[in-house]
Symmetry: D2
Subunit: 390 residues, 4 copies
Amino acid sequence: MKKLKVGMIGGGFMAKAHSLAMTAAPMFFDDGIILEKYKIADVSMESAKAAARKLGFASYTDSWQEIIEDKEIDIVDIVTPNHLHEEMAIAAAEAGKHIICEKPLGRNSEETRRMLSAVEKAGVKHQVAFNYRKTPAVALAKKYIEDGEIGRILSFRGTYLQDWSANPDSPLSWRFQESSAGSGALGDIGTHVIDLAHYLVADIEQVMAMTKTWAKERPIQDVGADSLGNIKSDSCKKGPVDVDDQMITLLRFENGAIGNLEATRNAWGRHNYLTFEIHGEKGSLYFNYERRDELQVCFSEDPDDRRGYKTIYTGAAHPYGDGLWPIPGLGIGYSEVKMVEMHDFLHSLQQDTSCQPSFLEGHRISEVSDAILRSAANNQWETTKSLTMK
Amino acid sequence: MKKLKVGMIGGGFMAKAHSLAMTAAPMFFDDGIILEKYKIADVSMESAKAAARKLGFASYTDSWQEIIEDKEIDIVDIVTPNHLHEEMAIAAAEAGKHIICEKPLGRNSEETRRMLSAVEKAGVKHQVAFNYRKTPAVALAKKYIEDGEIGRILSFRGTYLQDWSANPDSPLSWRFQESSAGSGALGDIGTHVIDLAHYLVADIEQVMAMTKTWAKERPIQDVGADSLGNIKSDSCKKGPVDVDDQMITLLRFENGAIGNLEATRNAWGRHNYLTFEIHGEKGSLYFNYERRDELQVCFSEDPDDRRGYKTIYTGAAHPYGDGLWPIPGLGIGYSEVKMVEMHDFLHSLQQDTSCQPSFLEGHRISEVSDAILRSAANNQWETTKSLTMK
Amino acid sequence: MKKLKVGMIGGGFMAKAHSLAMTAAPMFFDDGIILEKYKIADVSMESAKAAARKLGFASYTDSWQEIIEDKEIDIVDIVTPNHLHEEMAIAAAEAGKHIICEKPLGRNSEETRRMLSAVEKAGVKHQVAFNYRKTPAVALAKKYIEDGEIGRILSFRGTYLQDWSANPDSPLSWRFQESSAGSGALGDIGTHVIDLAHYLVADIEQVMAMTKTWAKERPIQDVGADSLGNIKSDSCKKGPVDVDDQMITLLRFENGAIGNLEATRNAWGRHNYLTFEIHGEKGSLYFNYERRDELQVCFSEDPDDRRGYKTIYTGAAHPYGDGLWPIPGLGIGYSEVKMVEMHDFLHSLQQDTSCQPSFLEGHRISEVSDAILRSAANNQWETTKSLTMK
Amino acid sequence: MKKLKVGMIGGGFMAKAHSLAMTAAPMFFDDGIILEKYKIADVSMESAKAAARKLGFASYTDSWQEIIEDKEIDIVDIVTPNHLHEEMAIAAAEAGKHIICEKPLGRNSEETRRMLSAVEKAGVKHQVAFNYRKTPAVALAKKYIEDGEIGRILSFRGTYLQDWSANPDSPLSWRFQESSAGSGALGDIGTHVIDLAHYLVADIEQVMAMTKTWAKERPIQDVGADSLGNIKSDSCKKGPVDVDDQMITLLRFENGAIGNLEATRNAWGRHNYLTFEIHGEKGSLYFNYERRDELQVCFSEDPDDRRGYKTIYTGAAHPYGDGLWPIPGLGIGYSEVKMVEMHDFLHSLQQDTSCQPSFLEGHRISEVSDAILRSAANNQWETTKSLTMK
């Protein structure tokens, strides 16, 4: 059993999710690696100390560079706002550390291209946390597609709908500022759907998009507040929002399929409504993360009098079923999804294969995101790949 | 109680639906008008006779012109393939008859503009059968919107998914030919979603669309077959499909809302999956015609700990509740929807108000459809209204 | 095409439903019989006249005996409160008329035994309006069971939940009085579930039941009100309720299956929630009338990695699909269910076969109902059949 | 931060679930206690070693008595087959250790009465792992009820349906033998519903039940197999099943409510279908663990035109929301439910309050289970409490 030391940068809700996964994955899957929660960095000594205590890290610091410089650390896990990813990841790569980085990989594809170059040059393992493809039901969808069960894919329909910022008085966190987030609903949640589209269908070749900012300004958070969180502000001072609240785009895939994709944080009643429906020549697939134990599938080969969408609850007979709970419906939660993600990372380390999704996939998603923003600005179809890359 | 005589042109499944509604509406609603099923025309004397016998018409003919020329007839009901609508409707208008016309109103907006001119000039009542807005749950959505319950509308998401032609061996009926249908999934089912969007949100100002023809050819139906039906063919000869199987479009509404809309007949497992979701500043609405007794609504004003989508089963407390069944869930079927449509038509006749939707709405939908086809051909945003109309 | 004359007794909501079905069934199914709405009787000349006008009857009367005595009438359709069924049905039988009678057939099995004897003696056709088994999805369940698709049946779980009288201030209509209704939720709605259990599983042999009356008294309706309706009362005078608001029973079937069944009108949020779930050795079936276009079915023979409940939307490929709408999801409503019921009645007349369900089935249901009331009173298992009958 | 040492007895899937919860709970909730995974016992040194390695225990043994005797251990966690609970728990109590015991607490109420006496005498903390009441949506149901939101409770309808043993060739594990399990579906899953009924409604006073054993014999597992698991057997030798596969019971609650409850492992297509519906004078609640992020609630006070079941996704605004994921729909899985359970246990330790549910609740459930078995044997209503206890 190999033991590897982790340095985590960031101490918010994602730090909790990753820390849990590090501890839990070995209880569920046998990847031959145990992770040691070695050191955590946060914006202040106080918050770093609290995070270390809560999440079980042996030490803490308010300097993320200390994580990079610590020779003991094998893996750097970056769970900070988007604008910090590039500098941290490149530094970690240059220090020879394996990297897990929260999504989106960067604010734009210039950043992600540099990040990709750095990790490739350094020869370290790199994974970007588009975790939703790790849901067993999504992996089952992938399996059906690869096995040809729904035939050639014709179209894809994806949504990610939330309502946590539908109230225009929710505070102006870093997620509403281009300088820290890169984009709004697009980067925050839309990129998850892009990842699923790439994973399940094919690379997106062209996009035609619209974006909207519904709340042009929001209450400024107190300066003293933790910049990583979303603490409600009593302040009546407002600041401008310069990213999208909603994004819709048409899609052309490299394999000839078409589709559309939407992300919004202004959809009252939808919370984590990440859905896709895929129609193939021989069947259809539907998934809604809010009911993530289930994959819906329709096979055209069923007889006319008994064809219909079937609800599959994932369990022992499905992907990751060996490690997870023995009975379908015991429950796939965020914990289980994050465990599977960590398991895949550890498995890649152990087997010395490339992680999925890696910075390469993360970079491709950034290229699509950039094309979406260009398309929305220019009102025209945009190609996602630069000529030199393709 | 006024009695009006109806001449129906067409003898297929829609003739049945309209005939039922004519008989049933007065049992449910008190509009002061009784319709007499006076004469029906179909493509042959044999099929016309059979239709008359089955649907309860007193007489029949194989000449639609005979319907127009019969002075006894007050109302002409056109339930034929799309390419016949214009000539028939204009003739009926010029003969001073009120008109019900199946949807889409015509193959394109040139036809529908002429049809609109004719009925306006003639001063007759005119209704186009976009019946789905007549579903009580849709009318309830309209009421909530008009009452301001969900505030300013931000976005609209509409789909109409079917699978009856997903099998490429389903026959080449008139619905797959531009000359008879005008367009494919767009005209056949997409126009219903456009109607709902116009009804519930606002006029669509601009579109950006894609279309696809998945089955480029289909088996030719026997020449002897009834051209109105979809009789399965044993023939192995195939003919070209020159309309869209699938259409997706982005939407910009006149009131600033945005959205998207999709129609396909290649969605295995979806049958009559006409859905919309509308997000407003103060709430959301969701409807799926396959579960048409229900409207889902989320109000933002609900307290944080008890906010969520609520499932309303329409009944006596909701639109058309006075006439329909007394208890929610007894069941809204196609019969009930068509009855409501006929009731509204009779009510307009009795009150001398304009029908909803009329040829004006039908024409506007054709303009949007034309813009969608232009956009898909030109790969650019298109404005739906010609300058002179606006 | 044979023409038969109908005399209807009763002018409320059920009269509307039956009248519609009489007119509509021949448009959908070819049974070789046309029904003529000849005469209708109601409690007063005024209400009878109004019903005749609305529902399309040629004549009317305030004397139900006039219906019986009219030699022109072939079929008597009884849609009155329960306590009137026996006298009317026996008189109609003795007059040699075919009979459709609303459910429950009588207030108790003594009444229904006499009714059954009368129709058998008279040799007339007799049908009792347990209409929910006529839903295409229920007929599909029956077909699957008969074809052995779910194997030997192990258990049955049935509910009929409503909330129209959950408010204790809803008026004391005839449905809350033993003298007119026989029983409460049991007879009104529970008998529908008993019918489905008998139809789909086997005869119920033994029951063990509880009943509850939640609202012991309700506001008295104005004396002047139509006794057939449920007109809201302004009166503050209250009268006693002497029937059950809720009934739950365990079931033992003749074929060894077990189950339970529940009916209540005090289930806020449930409107016409008639459901069953049947587990067999080889599969399961689930149905909910509030989503009546759908049957859910799980086949154990499906492979482990793709087993689950499948949602079948009934259409052309399913029972009654030849006559009803051509595409699944166009919509099965109360109209369609009642049409199918009338079609089956006409088909039995034309083919000279016995109706399903007939007074025999209606009587068996009454025996079960009686046993349920006995069991609830005596707190013990009761056998449903008297020894002499079995 | 207090540190307590845990000794776990048992190494199967439940050991994993509990171990995860011990590690995870402090990351989510601040209870002032950290648990140290000190020692684990399993049936052999080999399996104990493997479990220790996988689950992170510092030491291991094949003697459960060693856990009891180890003075370092503060808490004993019992995750063994049912017939071992009594001896282990009493020994642990007498050794002064706090106890977590898997459910059902014992094979029958004689055992549980002795267990309850032992822990009460010893003055240790005791919790029984009826974990489903720890689901946030269930806790929300409890809160609504306590706040009077649905008024006086009229009725309860509970199910727990699974299909993992619907195949009669699934092996004869300890769960199918009275000597090791006490009862079948009743004890295994039915007791969870009893716990929810007691938690949400009131104590069950009387039951009237049926049980069935559908598969009278099952293939014997290899002797060498781990007795804790359900390893598939190749053996063609079969042994008798002497417990129930299915149980249905009527319920009378102490507060006057009525209801019914069912458990079966022969329900193809249902996996962990633990549901309840509760109807009150002012509203209704519905929960299905297979969609455990959601609570459905209907409030009668809503206006007539907007009353219906509302789907609440639990999140920050609901019970346990402070500790769990910040956005509804991120996902409640089995991990999260078990974490909440552990949090409540730690909280009770820290605050020195009694655990919920404790051995007292576990014993009460056993009394109800015993009454159910008596009732099924005797075909009569049975009172759940012995006179001396009440």
